[in-house]
Symmetry: C2
Subunit: 359 residues, 2 copies
């Protein structure tokens, strides 16, 4: 708990006044929100004829974020993206945000506001409004619990269990940027020299700190019934593909040469003698969408890529369960594709980085 004397501390501000301040600043809602911040629960009129999507994530300091390399505004931004990306992966429209915050004794109201500023910058870009939350003390670091509610027409939701043998495997954007960006940030803290050009480094760091949730892409894939399954890439492609295969009871082949890497990520991999394919397969926190599409839908998918202003790459194919997960290295060389993406509680070190534990 903060001491009485600490200037501008939470103790002086008090929870109620803090809530009022946050509510005034960030609590602008819309007619469907009958009650937002400040009552026992938020009260919302659901969009007629839609199903409800609900997702929650808890981000812990030292586990999911590191305040030596990210500001609280960055952390807030990413916390929103983690959840926006979950709704995107279901093909839904994100709508309502709730924030449960545990603040260490050193936390200042200005820091809480910075966190909310980041959160709301990401949320508002997708039309999401803040409807509630909870703020309390923490004996040990910042903890941020985010809940995001969204809507989708029943029957259109993208799930993980619909991939069929013969479907094509697609991924949006580029892979491995976020992990490369995190490594560069850590090196800066350690005062090591950055191994890539400043422009590349800035791009990778931005991809790590301010990822783009693929909300528009998810909505189009669902609305046009193009994808048979989808997941967002939080743990890394190899691990997240394994989720789809497990839940759809199928296998998959991935074409190493087709994995999309940004020029900056390629430069990073080259400078650090990292296999770019491994970076693409096992880098986490890209928040791109991985999805499967029947071959007949490819022409329609090209149109969607244009409308979503988003690069889409055909990286493989769904195979029988007996095939398992395999990586085609080209020239007839195949490897077993082992899920290496970060698992919480697994003392696994992501490849090519000292990054440690991320979600």
């Amino acid at each position: 708990m903060p001491s009485r004397s600490s200037r501008n501390s939470l103790a002086r501000l008090g929870e109620f006044r803090l809530i009022r301040r946050l509510s005034r600043r960030f609590g602008h809602t819309r007619p469907s929100v009958l009650r937002g911040i400040g009552d026992d629960a938020a009260l919302i009129l659901p969009t007629q004829g839609t199903a409800l999507l609900l997702t929650t994530d808890l981000l812990a300091e030292g586990i999911h974020f590191d305040l030596r390399v990210a500001t609280l505004e960055d952390v807030g931004y990413k916390a929103a993206v983690v959840n926006l990306s979950d709704i995107a992966a279901m093909g839904g429209v994100p709508q309502y945000l709730l924030v449960a915050l545990a603040v260490p004794s050193t936390g200042k109201p200005s820091e809480i506001e910075a966190l909310y500023r980041g959160l709301m910058r990401a949320a508002r870009a997708y039309g999401v409004v803040l409807v509630g939350g909870d703020t309390s003390a923490s004996h040990s670091g910042w903890f941020i619990g985010i809940t995001l509610a969204g809507a989708i027409t029943p029957g259109l939701a993208l799930t993980r269990d619909g991939a069929r043998v013969g479907d094509l495997v697609y991924v949006s954007g580029t892979l491995g940027d976020s992990l490369a960006g995190l490594s560069l940030l850590r090196w800066q803290v350690g005062r090591s020299r950055t191994s890539v050009h400043r422009t590349d480094a800035a791009y990778l760091v931005l991809r790590h700190l301010r990822p783009t949730p693929r909300v528009q892409l998810g909505r189009l894939l669902a609305a046009h019934r193009l994808a048979t399954s989808a997941i967002d890439l939080s743990d890394g492609l190899s691990g997240d593909l394994a989720h789809i295969c497990e839940q759809s009871r199928v296998g998959a082949e991935i074409d190493a040469a087709a994995l999309p890497l940004s020029p900056a990520a390629r430069a990073y991999a080259a400078a650090n003698r990292i296999d770019p394919v491994q970076l693409a397969l096992n880098g986490g926190e890209d928040y791109e969408l991985l999805f499967t599409v029947p071959p007949r839908q490819e022409p329609a998918l090209k149109q969607v890529a244009r409308r979503a202003a988003c690069r889409l790459s055909h990286i493989g194919k769904i195979r029988s369960p007996a095939f398992g997960l395999r990586l085609n290295r080209g020239n007839g060389s195949w490897e077993r594709l082992v899920p290496r993406g970060y698992q919480h509680f697994q003392p696994h070190q992501p490849l090519g980085t000292e990054a440690g534990h991320r979600r």
Copy 2:
């Protein structure tokens, strides 16, 4: 992070297997849940013609609970009650639970299961099903983020802003039991002798560890349009009454003699020379409902009390804003009623206890 060698540790179990295990054990849902645990978001068909209620709370070890005096099953139970009580205070039907958990490196799968067991025991008693969650590591203690969704007919929700001058102030159950129970638990840890009879102590401890959310009462108050405002007592009567008065822009008088205390709480107060009125006003975590009712509704309220099998006490009256908040001590003696219930970040010590920080 847990070491590789720790037997039965989270590292060995892995997050995915843990989720599967919890899902098998606790993830039984209902037809309205199209997708529960295991996809990017839960997918739910809302009840026709209802509005959505959403509430979230984050409970931190050492702030909201103390594992020296409560088991993880107790903590889980209370975490569910905190949120059930929020939905009850809106008059709604609690339905869907999401759990975001940060587990310290010492945490065992059996402890996570105990926490879920407590959560689900409380949740299932009110027909609530588990639809999603997130489990990750914590560098420092347990953090439990709960989100609860519920339903209510639009227009019937109980809010904090509807109290009118002349309304009667009511409270359910008895007050101060939970704080008395917590103090007794702390004394046991400190090996101090308990100052009350064993039966009374057991009652108070149970009221602290396993409070009853007033879901049925809230639903009846809303359905019969009896209450003009309502709030659940988490911070203590004095503070929570202040919320209603502030948001309704009214004052209130409370009759000290009418405050409901259990025989056990009276015995506790007498044995420890604590003013029972202060215990009732400022004890937190009772999770009773505080609500206001127009006088003409009193006969209907009596019927509701019978149906909800719940004691209701008329403890005061809504007055003009200029009146402020006052306590009638009897014999013409009045005091200003100062909100003393626990506020996070306020270095306030609840009265008559070394309890410290609670929500």
